[in-house]
Amino acid sequence: MTSQPPETPEAATPATAPATDVLRAEHMGKRFGAVTALVDVNLRLAKGEVLGLLGDNGAGKSTLLKILCGFQQQDSGTLMVNGEEVLLRSVDHARSLGIDAVYQDLALINQLSVYHNMFLNREELRWPLLNNRAMRKTAREHLDAMGVNIPSVDVEVARLSGGQRQAIAIARAVYSDAKILLLDEPLAAMGAKEVAIILDLIRDLKRRGDVSIIIIAHNYGQALEVCDRINLLQHGMITLDKKSKDTSVAELNDIVVAEYRRALQERQRT
């Protein structure tokens, strides 16, 4: 997991090198039987960038995410990771390249403590036993360093709020050396205070500069708040690619509302 491929020169020269794409998808297509989920997706992610992937239900966001994290394979198109073409065979394969997806509800084990979750399947051992002391200490240090506030790393994850759980899932991915984070609806069903926790965490990661992030989101306002760039996915294609400062909630809304209108008119015609 910790084995970063050696072909990442960016790691050594962060400031001087021009913004390089850590991830680049070209002409990605994916069909499920008669349904075409992705038609022709072109997407790039620069090092240290936070990209917001927006789109309606059924636009293909989930499919794209599953392909990018190695859970499914595309039918057509190519994927470049750190400038090298790869076909992600599995989630483990993607993870070995530093790509890690964080799902809101699937990631954590509720009945285990925060530090056991942080170290799940990477436990530190004093063979044959768990080295709980070391894991507790490292987890606390790592969460402190990332600015994640929780009362104690001994608390069962079930007792934490949605924002805290999400923060821990992200911290865990970062701790496991993820360089490209795919966050699936990290802000869904959260209160304002919770959203603030995650937005803060993402900003902190942005400041560090070594982690690139794709955020899948529904809420345009929140996405514009934290993302450098916005991609809008419609009908399996990216229909808008703008810097956050060059677009607005109103513009994004208009595009999607126009789409609804078109769909409505089509229905009325038939």
């Binding site: 509720n110 399947n121 036993l129 768990l130 009362p151 001994d154 007792r159 709020s161 924002g163 205070k193």
Partner: protein
């Protein structure tokens, strides 16, 4: 712990609400210890078991309190339930169940008998193979459940019937006497008055540590709590389930040998559903959720003691055997209700 937990919900993310007590080692540890003790589901069952023991001991000091009865209660009645419950707890935690373990219990001494008597396999090897037979049965349960995707309830219902038939058919439904060559080893396994209980205690200690202090235990909990999440984290969920079926099979075979040596008889009708259901009852009374993800072996141990005390105590008090199941069923339900409700009250007191 209760305070900080509540505060975290309200003040999440605000500065100053930093990680609890990093700078205050001793106090932190004390608080954590107190919190952990207060949280122990075992505490309730411990009180129930101790109260039952006290009650029967004080009301019937000469009979219930005798050494002979202590052996009956702990070695004969409780030990098989305890040992099988260890396996069931592990399985229930990772979201499975084994109904066949009582029939592995019935078969394993026959395997030893046939190998030694009919095939001339040396006694020690015959014993080891009969234990391995239990592991193999567990593997088959794992294969059918994990690899072929049957629900474990059905898997082990099926394998249980087959094993029951195996014991009856091959023995012509007749009991056998323990082969003389194996008797020397039997002393180590179950012949002595206390040996079964000592085994039970040793196994409880070992598997309590396995469950709470090793990666295997952590992964077992993760598998039962959130199988998808566990798989996401790279845990080989299938391997965990296979392993716990095999542990349960091994324990079932061990109990089978113990009981056979203790009685100096191999009975095709030994084991069966009763000890299995008792051990699941013990596990549940001890705080193992049937939903997966939570459970304790210490709790199951105490649950088995409470259960065995009821069985033994009713017997000694002389309640007619015909009513016993009614009282027994009622007692189980009351113990369960008390446990569940107390846990609910404790949870309410905390938040």
């Amino acid at each position: 712990m209760s305070n900080t937990t509540e505060r975290s919900g309200m003040l999440a993310g605000l500065p100053g609400d930093g990680p609890g007590g990093t700078g205050n080692g001793t106090l932190d540890r004390l608080l954590r210890g107190a919190g952990v003790f207060g949280r122990q589901r075992e505490a309730t069952v411990f009180v129930v078991a101790a109260a039952l023991l006290l009650y029967f001991g004080l009301t019937n000091p000469s009979t219930f309190g005798s050494r002979i009865n202590a052996i009956d209660l702990l070695s004969e009645i409780a030990a098989p339930i305890i040992i099988i419950a260890i396996g069931e707890v592990l399985l229930l935690i990772c979201g499975e169940i084994d109904l066949s373990v009582g029939f592995i219990f019935a078969c394993s001494p026959f395997v030893m008998f046939y190998l030694n008597e009919y095939f001339g396999v040396p006694a020690l090897l015959a014993i080891i193979i009969s234990l391995a037979f239990g592991v193999l049965c567990g593997w088959i349960n794992g294969f059918l459940t994990v690899t072929l995707g049957l629900p474990s309830f059905i898997t082990t219902l099926g394998t249980g019937f087959i094993l029951a038939g195996f014991a009856l058919y091959t023995s012509h439904a007749e009991s056998k006497t323990i082969p003389p060559a194996t008797i020397g080893y039997g002393d180590w396994i179950g012949t002595g008055p206390w040996s079964q209980f000592i085994w039970a205690v040793i196994l409880v200690v070992i598997f309590h540590i396995v469950l709470t202090r090793t990666s295997w235990g952590l992964h077992t909990i993760a598998t039962g709590d959130n199988q998808l999440g566990a798989r996401e984290a790279g845990i080989k969920v299938g391997r965990i389930k296979y392993g716990n079926f095999m542990i349960t099979g091994f324990l079932g075979a061990l109990v089978g040998l113990q009981v056979a040596f203790y009685n100096n008889t191999i009975d095709p009708l030994a084991g069966g559903y009763t000890p299995m259901f008792y051990s699941i009852t013990a596990a549940v009374i001890g705080g193992t959720a049937m939903l997966g993800g939570s459970g304790t072996i210490l709790g199951a141990f105490l649950g088995a003691i409470a259960l065995s005390t009821l069985i033994d105590g009713f017997d000694i008090v002389g309640i007619t055997a015909n009513v016993l199941p009614i009282i027994f069923g009622g007692a189980i339900l009351i113990a369960m209700i008390a446990n569940v409700q107390l846990a609910r009250l404790r949870a309410k007191g905390r938040t």
